[in-house]
Amino acid sequence: MSPSSVVLRLHGVTRVHGEGATRVEALRGVSFAAHAGELVAVMGPSGSGKSTLLTIAGGLDQPTEGRVEVEGTDLVALPRAGRSRLRRTSIGYVFQGFNLIPALSAAENVALPLELDGTRTRAARQAALRALEEVGIVELADRFPDDMSGGQQQRVAIARAIVGERRLVLADEPTGALDSETGEEVLRLLRARCDAGAAGVLVTHESRHAAWADRVVFLRDGVVVDESGCEPVESLLETSDAR
């Protein structure tokens, strides 16, 4: 695989919270890559550092040590404004709690990141409708989150994460509160997005959902302990380099 197809790369990332007695090493020297067209699942027990890994990959949190690159841009070195911009344009983030804004309709929620980035309202709405179409709920475009089921809200959250052709989609337990059929539908959407060329990272407790990924990375106490899957295990090699 050519290096240019690497969308996300973490180099020896360590994240320490607190000091002294309350010091927690949430991640310890994690190296990890996600390529275009690839869906990677991250599994591990509660507290193993999965969400920390994802927020750092998405530029929502900063590593204590190490480097994070998104499409070749070093997130850590980037000034705050540049990081925010990259977050709005290249990175889609699906949170466990959906995080939709109740006062905005589905289409407005989806269009929001584009509008924040200066896209004109009409163009942003059109892009939002295309994304809602892609997740199969374009007919709900003018509904408000409170008037939708959990599964529908989650689709809106996914549409918001993929609107504007984002190349990196990060999802933290996106199937959490959904029944197994609806959860599977969410996986189908993420998978389709990756098959269309995006890189995806999915945090999940459910092995049945992780099985949709090309690779599964196992985290234990902030360390990558193993990987399974048929795709190149490049990040495993990187881990041994970093030691």
Binding site: P45, S207, R208, A211, A213, V216, D221, V223, D226, S228
Partner: protein, 195 residues
């Protein structure tokens, strides 16, 4: 698995010849439980001896066709209306292996569990890939195959959940008895030593 019952059930659909029975069986179950054609012929001979099937001539290409007798039809009906017996748990190599691993001294249980989890995860990824392909089509046989895949998926998922549970318990026991060793460091060193 009962080859006998499966062949009888297929003949309930229509009379067939030996090789055709094998093809039809695999169309419904994929290659999950491959059936060799010799096994089909010996089973048919036994079923004929027991009066459950009888020869019904040959087709244009000279294949010997088999059909159900009245007793055969009754047998199929009885099979579909009786639950599969669960008299004793099937012998489970993994459960036995773990039971021995936690008792035999010097076995690296953490690594054993992780290797197994990785391998089972790989199988689960394969089943999921096949399922996505099967779901893309909608024929009746594909429904059968897709349900068989679901069964494999649920079994692999249950195995992984059980492994997670075993690991958590083993780690708890390990931290209680040797509180100075951080579990992940412990596990990783073991893994490197294994390479």
């Amino acid at each position: 698995m009962s080859v006998k019952q499966a062949l009888l059930a297929l003949l309930e659909q229509e009379p067939m010849y030996g090789y055709q029975l094998r093809t039809e069986f695999e169309a419904r179950t994929g290659s999950a439980w491959p059936l060799n054609v010799g096994q089909v012929y010996t089973t048919l001979t036994r079923l004929e001896r027991d009066g459950l099937v009888e020869p019904a001539g040959a087709d244009d290409e000279g294949h010997e066709i088999w059909r159900l007798t009245a007793a055969g039809h009754d047998e199929v009906a009885a099979w579909f209306t009786t639950p599969v017996a669960r008299t004793q748990p099937p012998r489970d190599e993994l459960a036995i292996k773990l039971a021995l691993a936690v008792t035999v001294p010097g076995v690296d249980v953490g690594t054993l569990i992780q290797r197994q989890r990785s391998a089972t995860m790989g199988a689960l990824q394969d089943y999921t890939r096949l399922k996505r392909q099967a779901d893309a089509s909608t024929g009746r046989t594909d429904l059968a195959w897709s349900l068989v895949l679901d069964s494999l998926v649920f079994a692999a998922e249950a195995e992984i959940r059980w492994l997670d549970h075993c690991e958590a318990r083993v780690r708890r026991v390990a931290t209680e008895s040797t509180p100075l060793i951080a579990p992940a460091r412990f596990e990783r060193d073991e893994q490197e030593a294994g390479r």
